[in-house]
Symmetry: C2
Subunit: 427 residues, 2 copies
């Protein structure tokens, strides 16, 4: 791009992300692509000032591109590149950038190999169309899929068009788009630091840090990101010199950590379960789960993280009472007398889990997540949690009033935070 030298260091390079597809507008698909792209651009100091979703409608896409071409330095489009009739991004870009469709030989050959040897499916005429690209673009060869990426320039502005399949989009971003942007744009330096708190409300936290916030230098901004019982605090610092920015944000972050110390879970942007995993690894301790109402969700949260096999022994999803008895050795009379959702039952569940799995710690949950199954004494949203090691059991009763899926998530978060506090106290 000829204008690179015209970008002064104090100007921030601005990017807009445009996602294309009706499914994003009728809410059938949740857009995770643009969050990921924004994250990656931010890491290299490019500021995403707008994210936009439009349907598979020629005029809407055209207008969105046309408007953003005048205000953004970089446009990233995803979607609408498939082989089917509702995918119109390629012909539209061809017309917008005044080109004509020509065959891109490397893409054609890549597709031929892909269909013949990997997919072992006929390389139909429809699939061959995927090798056509506007002659006004540079092709970004998509080595992990069928639709090629495209790169267009117009005056000062760069436009990348990428497939909407997350895996292919990410591959092209990492191998083509991000390196190109990093080479060409000298952006203003932006740094973020995030900490995680649990067990404190947003407005109470706001009062705690109010004085601190007012005294922050103007280049540092603070944001509150609440999420059911947890609040993330994020500092953002911008400047022209990386080292200076780093010093400023580090000093401010250390101060903030001290202020919120009683509720601090982690001084990184990690999940609650990652914080617990770190503590377990430090202690060389292990974990087992006994889940009724959370139905395997707690086990999933841990096993979705790489390295889980080092500390996670396993779990039982004891959805029926017989399984609570046969696999976790809960006494039949406990369930008869106190009920499956009771303090006595989760206590026996957590002890049973430690015995069965031979783990250092265990967590057990039993509750009613709804929408059905509640009663006057045990309403929907009620849950009992127990956490334990060989020496100690702690229990807690929760009342939530949300939809089933949220009740499951909140109950799981609460249980994991109780586990965290038990592990911290046994350090």
């Amino acid at each position: 791009m000829s204008s690179t030298n015209e970008i002064l260091p104090s100007q921030v390079t601005k990017a807009t992300i445009i996602t294309i597809g009706d499914e994003l507008l009728i809410g059938q698909v949740i857009d995770t692509n643009s969050a990921w792209i924004a994250q990656q651009l931010n890491l290299i100091g490019i500021q995403v000032t707008k994210r936009l979703a439009v349907g598979d409608v020629w005029e809407e896409i055209w207008q969105a591109i046309d408007a953003e071409m005048t205000v953004a330095d970089i446009l990233i489009l995803t979607g609408g590149l498939g082989p089917t009739a509702d995918d119109i991004t390629k012909p539209l870009l061809c017309e917008y950038f005044k080109g004509k469709l020509v065959r891109h030989q490397p893409t054609y050959e890549h597709l031929q190999v892909l269909f013949d040897s990997v997919l072992k499916r006929p390389f139909t005429e429809r699939n061959q169309l995927q090798a056509l690209v506007p002659d006004t673009c540079d092709v970004l060869l998509n080595q992990v899929g069928t639709a090629p990426g495209m790169f267009f320039k117009k005056q000062q502005t760069w436009l990348f068009s990428l497939p909407g399949v997350p895996f292919e989009m990410k591959w092209l971003m990492q191998h083509e788009v991000l390196p190109m942007i990093q080479r060409e744009f000298v952006g203003k330096c932006i740094q973020h630091k995030t900490l995680l708190t649990a067990g404190v409300g947003e407005s109470f936290l706001a009062d705690m840090v109010s004085n601190y916030e007012q005294q922050l230098p103007q280049q540092i901004k603070m944001a509150y990101l609440p999420n059911f019982g947890m609040v993330r605090l994020r500092l953002t610092c911008s400047g022209t010199h990386e080292q200076e920015v780093n010093q400023q944000i580090t000093a401010a972050f250390e101060q903030l950590k001290e202020i919120v110390a009683p509720y601090l879970v982690a001084d990184q942007d990690i999940s609650l379960q990652q914080a617990v995993a770190n503590l377990l690894s430090q202690q060389g301790a292990t974990l087992a789960t006994a889940e009724s109402c959370t139905g395997g969700y707690i086990a999933h949260l841990f096993t979705a993280m790489s390295g889980a096999s080092h500390y996670f022994k396993g779990g039982v999803v004891s959805y029926s009472n017989e399984i609570k008895e046969s696999l976790l050795h809960v006494h039949n009379q406990t369930i008869e007398k106190e009920g499956a959702v009771s303090e006595a039952t989760v206590k026996e569940m957590v002890i049973g889990a430690i015995e069965q799995f031979g783990s250092t710690y265990a967590v057990a949950v039993s509750g009613i997540m709804g929408p059905d199954g509640g009663s006057e004494n045990k309403p929907v949203g009620m849950a009992w949690i127990a956490v334990a090691n060989q020496k100690m059991i702690r229990t807690k009763q929760l009342f939530n009033r949300f939809a089933r899926e949220k009740n499951i998530q909140i109950t799981a978060n609460h249980a994991i935070n109780m586990l965290r506090m038990l592990i911290v106290d046994n350090r």
Copy 2:
């Protein structure tokens, strides 16, 4: 709104969703709100033509609102209404709609009760600020949270400002916004019908339905929504008379179902696991899971659905080999000889699960999800799946090449589809 009568029945009411918050632009938070809002608006025939995310920056928000006020009939804003300094939506709307901030007494009283009796936290000055609203808006009382919703009109356009907390946003949408929109706007009628296929690629499917698609009347559009081994096909039909639209889309949908019959999982927009749940309920059959590499994710997918307790007996997350032996009765020598990730092991796991849980069907999975733990013979992404009932066991080996979380999701989907086919064949 004075212009209601000017909306001709053939005009579609257009809505734009604007989500506000830096966290959406740096990718820290995935935007699920706007997908949900779009879904709800679509259900009442309002077309969302654009979704937009902007940061906590005065000019950006102002420009986005100003631009959309001229093209949309309805604007829905979420976020930026909290009690903290980075929340600027309210003062901005106050200035934009030329008002001044005044206390809204019902909100003030609601907050007082909330803090005194429910939250049992001091009703601080900062929290009292939440009761201030521009005198140019109608307040939408937020009975489930602290930040009130606001409704502004300007000429032909309606603007709603809602809190970003999903639960509060949804409550206000359902109790205030959607009823208001439904009462006032006579939209064009839009209907969607979606079916789910599994085990067939998008382009192969496209060739199957190519003739059909070309012969569709112009008011019917078809979209492909691929999602790792599954493809949803969605028909959208628009018109002015509900009955006519319904007849047309129903006829086209029946035809489509016949064409894709060999791969059809469901003729509704449901998940694969919901299809399996329906089949189990029809048969009065039950299910158990034995998961190693998917770590409870399959159990979670089933138990996240209401009514799971009717057919889901439970599961074991057998992350360590000892647990495969002690809880699922896998023979020690099988693991020694064939390894934990082998056909022999998943076969014994699935039999063990049926025995332990006394279920009609079971599914077992063992694999290497990465990023570590792979070897030449058993690379990362390799997994064995077994599904069984009392009479029959089926197994399958998978090779995936994605990141851990995607490997888990795809493996789970595959396993659930195998389970579906076994249940269908035993009907």
